[in-house]
Assembly symmetry: C2
Homo-oligomer: 216 residues x 2
């Protein structure tokens, strides 16, 4: 069994696309020499991606400054009780250990991948975002295309998280991941000036010897 | 000092663009709500990227099948003697230990980042590609936009590597990397059907305790 779990969603025909956005288009060309060239047009908030502060905070930091030392490291995967709204009470019930810096929330959303876009995905309420900030969590990962509910007015949940110094990873597929602590490897493209950027994200299982000896 | 070294090049204004290709274009829009959305158009062989076999081999595997277990793991960084053509003799002089699966070649190219595209970058000859395949190296990383020389006729160097089962990572910035063994974390976007795909690549220094205990 590989120690890697790919938690990225495939940018392909079955990827759900946020309503009103451009989604993605791949163009392949092949020359007489048999060489295939590909060009990609994509919304930067497609599939598995990381939000930059500038997405929600005018004048905020853009994509090139996303912190690699947060995007790589120990992460707790927790299974969230089934509900449309993820509240502070729901988060409290997860018994997140003090000192947890990275938290990935597995919800029923992980079963929605491969289907057309759904508006009733589970996501955080603004006060749940505040809970995340106050608990000192520095990276939050969610398993659908937005950390806030589709019907939330304004952009409050995003703003609380991003102004609170939380790096937000959206569009993870956690359907194959048991609850527990893993090493998160989340690498966004090194792109200048964007409000968000597509990423590849992988979890690595720790062996027992790793867990004893690794620097955290 | 962080144990991470970012060896990706920035997709930004100073990125050299291969002649005749579309390069990249980022479009940002901001709504009345202060939310910034970004759209990226890019050549999939821009900056730091991974070639899929289909790039050079008609009917070959495309980008979604790039092997994560090769793209993550121990990699040897070697400094290559200064020359336009990287020959089998040049590779032989590196004293690559038997069993090395991943080899990253640092050349004078790493000093070319930030300048306009140069045609005289250092790259492999076809027989050097054959050397790589025969030595059992499964991942080869180079520090400019192509593994083969600009003036090579045909696409032989690419074809030898890709048909030989070598995963080719191009566009690395190794200017800050001393020779030695690191953990390579190279994560391409999870994109279907393309001949190549942009990636983020990072090296991690091993601590002495890691080196003694980690699974390779």
């Amino acid at each position: 069994m590989s120690d890697l779990i790919d938690i990225s969603v495939l940018i392909g025909p079955s990827l759900p696309i946020w309503p009103g956005t451009s989604g993605w288009t791949l163009t392949n060309t092949s020359g007489d020499d048999g060489v295939m060239e590909s060009t990609l047009l994509c919304d930067c908030h497609i599939g598995t991606h990381v939000d930059a502060p500038a997405h929600a905070l005018p004048g905020g930091a853009t994509s090139e400054s996303l912190p690699l030392d947060l995007l790589i490291g120990d992460a707790m995967v927790a299974h969230v009780p089934d509900a449309h709204a993820i509240t502070p009470n729901a988060l409290e019930s997860l018994n997140v250990p003090p000192g947890t810096r990275r938290l990935l929330l597995r919800t029923r959303n992980s079963l929605l991948w491969g289907k057309a876009f759904q508006t009733d995905y589970a996501a955080l309420t603004p006060d749940a975002a505040q809970w995340v900030v106050e608990r000192g969590i520095r990276l939050l990962g969610v398993d659908y295309l937005s950390v806030q509910r589709y019907d939330e007015r304004g952009f409050k949940t995003h703003r609380i998280l991003l102004s609170g110094g939380v790096t937000v990873v959206e569009g993870l597929d956690l359907s194959q991941v048991e609850a527990g602590v893993y090493e998160l490897l989340c690498l966004p493209l090194k792109l200048t000036d964007a409000g968000g950027v597509p990423a590849r994200a992988v979890l690595r299982r720790y062996s027992s010897s790793d867990r004893d000896t690794r620097q955290r």
